[in-house]
Amino acid sequence: MADLNKFLPDEAFALDVEAADWRDAIRLAGRGLVNAGFTTDAYTDEMIGTVEKMGPYIVIAPGLALAHSRPSDAVLNTGLSWVRLSTPVEFGNKNNDPVSLVIGLAGRDENEHIEVMSAIASALTSKDKTAALADAKTPDDIRRVLGA
């Protein structure tokens, strides 16, 4: 079982917040990563740069964006952030817009986060758990759904 308290601590969450646009939404995800001690501010710019360079491919499922960039000096530790938007925003992805959940990911390599990614994948492929995550009131509730 992934150590969710380590990879998704309270500081990494922003629940039911407003974002002006997709850049703002990624900035919120970046702030969660910085607050949790996973990245420096430079990583936030790198995540935005990834979308500017490669398009909104990070919107991988309806309503879900996985904001991330590649391992770099701006990544201090492997971890994630969780931003639930009160008003969904458009990323320009024709299949999966608008986005209501932005998960920020900072990885030092492609392996360290595989367990927590497995927990997230397992939850978000389940309709019941996806609904529970949208309704969850606190970070603890969200970690409980991911860990179930």
Partner: protein
């Protein structure tokens, strides 16, 4: 069957896709080896695989590879992944 999951950086969306592909393959009783890659290096490694999975935005970057490239629209939809795997068996 060797499957390559491709995303922009090789650590994020492709890892999520790999997890789901492995889970679907296991349910189907398929013997698969799933690896991940960033779009830049995928052109070199694609030909060593039997199937390449990626997103609609990144598929054009893989043009010219001889391995079949399939687009997954919803990485969290195991039915879509299953349909693609069955079509390429």
């Amino acid at each position: 069957m060797n499957i390559l999951c491709v995303c922009g950086n090789g650590i994020g969306t492709s890892v999520l896709l790999k997890v789901n592909v492995e889970s679907v393959a296991s349910d189907l009783g398929l013997d698969v080896t799933v690896t991940t890659s960033d779009a830049g290096s995928a052109k070199g490694t694609a030909n060593m695989n039997d199937l390449v999975l990626t997103s609609a935005e990144l598929a054009p970057e893989l043009e010219g590879t001889t391995t079949p490239v399939e687009v997954i629209h919803n990485f969290m939809d195991t039915d879509e992944i299953q349909e693609v795997l069955e079509r390429n068996m």
